[in-house]
Amino acid sequence: MPDLLLKLSLSAYAFGIVAGLAAARRDELARLAGAGAGLAAGTCGVAAALSELIGAPGKRVAFNLWPSLLPHLRLGVRLDPLGAYFLLIVSALAIALSLYSFGYVRGFCGRKSVGALAAFFNGLLLTTTLVFLASNAFFFLIAWELMALTAYCLVSFEHETKESRNAGVLLFIMSHLGTGCLIAGFLLLFQASGSYEFESFRRLGVHLSAGRRDAAFLLFLVGFGVKAGIIPLHIWLPAAHPVAPSHASALLSGVLIKAGIYGLTRVLFEFLGTPPNWWGVTLLSIGTVSALLGVLYALMEHDLKRLLAYHSIENIGIILMGLGAALMFLHTHHPILATFALIASLYHTLNHAIFKALLFLGAGAVVHATHTRNMEEMGGLIKRMPKTALCFLVGAVAIAALPPLNGFVSEWLTYQSLLLGFGTTSSLIRLMFPLCGAMLALTGALAAACFVKAFGITFLAQPRGEPAAQAREASPTMLAGMGLLAAACIFLGLFPSALVRLLAPLTLELTGQRLALTSGSILTNTRPLGGTVSTLGIALMGICLLPIPLGLWLVFARHSRVRIGPTWDCGLRGLTPAMEYTATGFSKPIRMIFKALFRPKREVQREYDYSPYFAKTLRFDSHIEEPFVRRLYRPLNRAVLRLSRRMRTLQAGSIHAYLIYIFVTFLVLLIFAL
């Protein structure tokens, strides 16, 4: 059954690509075909993934997409629990995003090729699905490259703007850097196993020398890290994700970066065997730094979609913290604790996909309505787009890890896995984990501040610009897409036991353990006395307590009246939107406190006649540049350019010189052959 569903899903995506291209001239038809294909494929994909994860462990689904033409190249597809879990993520998002795209893409009708957009979108879904299902390294890399290519097409879809083109190129270069590392890594594994099949890589680590294993780890870390957007390999992410059409941004941030997490999990837990300690330390440190810096840079943004993109870096950091903790537990031979940390990390992977997609869709609806990504020109949208605002609020509460939504559950699991470190005898773990936990707390609180800003400045108060004042509510299909994801946020928050059960076959395969962490609606850490939480209980108790304030109202305030009046304006005549707090102003205290990190540059120009206190015009300019760009990438860029200029003298254009090169190469090869 999953066999058939999977084939149906893949062919539906393929149909979406073909139909999109075929109907390139007829926008309405392409829109319908693109959304319909994605919807059907997503539904089949979810069903296939669930039947693999819930169903009895039987024969694994495995088939070839196409008969093999070349040696080593087998287009094999295989559904195992880890792949099925990520298939679930991509398919679930495909349903919501396709629904949304039906309404959203209308904005491109007549302006851009809707057919091409539908084809790229379904193409990205198809290739991402194949990445999660590929059964050998060769096919995996092909799917990986196709995924990067379609992502490039979507990022530079609006290629009229320089920003999109530059972002696309940056994505392209960084992505290839990563792929290069992956190829090298897989070749290392191939040398030891003699086959490209993932099955032959299983537990390969024991046959590798320590040096090779470490080299493979580093190569995979960089290769998958680029895709995941870990700091300092992240610079493409905040550039590329915001410029794509919003449903594509949601897919890029929700699923594509998770391909990196998928790869890391697959390689570290399945292929490379018991890890040395420094692997876990590295992942945990990178995770902590990415989480903290990601949220700090997000706070400095006033471009709504860029802000969300930086939050993806933050959440990848949180996921990596869980993975790092799991590796360290594996090293110290605590498979149960490792499993717990792995569950935390994978739970957060799904949660982040859901709420980040939701937030990107909400941002897309806002951008669609106001034609700007700049939060400083928004405001008051909760009155004009109430449903979008509600969905965005659900996403914001979820990503800020507030109870009782899903972000809280997975961060709770992450905290617990860090705290469980104290049960071990390793002093490194016992010291490092609580400190990382404290940094996670800082990250979480800053994320809450950031989403107060993102929601408050965008949706609350008075509109700061004409387009925001004229904004209209998103179309029904867009709302349906967002509503679906918001419902998923609530469901995954209130019923964690459902997901923990889904993860059991997966952890059984990766760490040999299955944990029953739930009893009823109560989630425990591995020991029953170690700590419990019940989000459902919290939510229900909250509802039970609500009669108290409402009762107070009935008892005391029945006769009080409510008057609508102007906001207190200090006796001036009327507040204008210009007097409201801005996004930049909101994050100013944080900018000041972390001055040493941000090094903000500000320029103030005043023109005045008599006294500087009575300025006629005032120009204020402030910006922040990431140190990585300045310190790492720019010098690197310059060095590469300098090197290529040197190399150019070789390519002088003289045929005589070229003949000499050929001759010398020939000689060298001959010498080698002898």
Partner: protein
């Protein structure tokens, strides 16, 4: 059934006791400043007055403005039900421990800050911005101190933490507990908006943090917000008092034990309130950008607390 009774009793205790604690602090503070000060019952009368009054709501406000007091009130009360007050077993300890407690307070704060932004007032925005910033800076110290205590107990469940603290010796002599207490005391001042960090009695909009967010609130909404602030203060103080000075708390549910424990609990609260009053009267409010230094000290103290768990075992 027992849990139900305990839940209702604790909720009533929280609701009834919180304004009294606020009143005591205000009264004592005034006494120390050579003023006569309001009576300790004044907060009850204030609440009653606010509840009866008409409300003026800003024309720019949305439903967030009206929903906020309810969210804040219920989330704070819910957090309070997870903390053991007079018995070791907190009524809702199964539904969440230290982490859920911190999360629920954060939920209330999230909506409080949104409420501040909702009315298009610059003061509200300023208050929200500062509140969220300071909360963020205080969070790592809070969590690290909580972790240290939780690690000692091997559990994040606050009732279990309390049981572990009830060992044979006085736990405060354990350096881990002493340092964590110092860190949490600073965090307590920050979280409840007390003087070196925020001035609860200020009427100058530019120096306000908590009050600035409430500037547009009136009537019963204001009553709910003020009440939640009192409850939050009570709960945080109770947490400190019970974890670090666990003596006298009832381990069984017999009326005699519980009654004795209640008296001891009130005594502990009053001592802690006295300490807060002393700090408030002997210190000046810090400049906003000096506050991170103070909270940095709290973080260092909490980190030392963690380190000392290695040294003294």
């Amino acid at each position: 059934m027992m849990t139900f009774v305990a839940t209702v009793a604790q909720a009533l205790l929280l609701l009834a006791l919180a304004p009294l604690l606020t009143g005591c602090i205000r009264n004592w503070k005034a006494k120390l400043q050579n003023r006569r000060g309001p009576r300790v019952w004044q907060p009850y009368l204030d609440l009653l007055k606010f509840l009866r009054k008409d409300m003026v709501i800003s024309e720019h406000a949305s439903w967030i403005f009206s929903a906020m007091p309810y969210v804040l009130f219920t989330s704070t009360l819910l957090a309070g039900l997870m903390v053991p007050l007079v018995t070791v077993a907190a009524p809702l300890s199964l539904f969440g421990g230290a982490l859920a407690f911190v999360g629920l307070l954060a939920l209330g704060r999230f909506f409080l800050a949104l409420g501040g932004l909702d009315t298009a007032s610059a003061f509200g925005g300023m208050g929200s911005s500062r509140e969220m910033t300071l909360a963020a800076i205080a969070e790592p110290a809070l969590m690290l101190a909580v972790f240290t205590v939780a690690i000692q107990a091997g559990s994040t469940n606050l009732s279990r933490v309390l049981q572990a603290a009830q060992g044979p010796g006085w736990t405060l002599l354990n350096p881990a507990y002493a340092l964590a207490f110092a860190a949490l005391f600073i965090v307590l001042l920050a979280e409840t908006g007390r003087i070196p960090i925020d001035n609860p009695a200020t009427h100058l909009e530019l120096t306000m943090i908590h009050e600035a967010m409430l500037l547009e609130y009136s009537g019963r909404y204001l009553a709910l917000i003020e009440w939640s602030a009192s409850i939050k203060q009570l709960v945080l103080m109770a947490l400190l008092a019970n974890i670090f000075f666990p003596a006298g708390i009832a381990t069984e549910m017999t009326p005699g034990r519980v009654g004795f424990s209640l008296i001891v609990f009130l005594g502990k609260l009053l001592v802690l309130a006295g300490a807060v009053v002393l700090v408030e009267t002997t210190n000046a409010k810090l400049r906003l950008f000096r506050v991170p230094d103070l909270l940095g000290v709290a973080f260092i103290l909490a980190a030392l607390a963690l380190l000392s768990t290695f040294l003294f075992q």
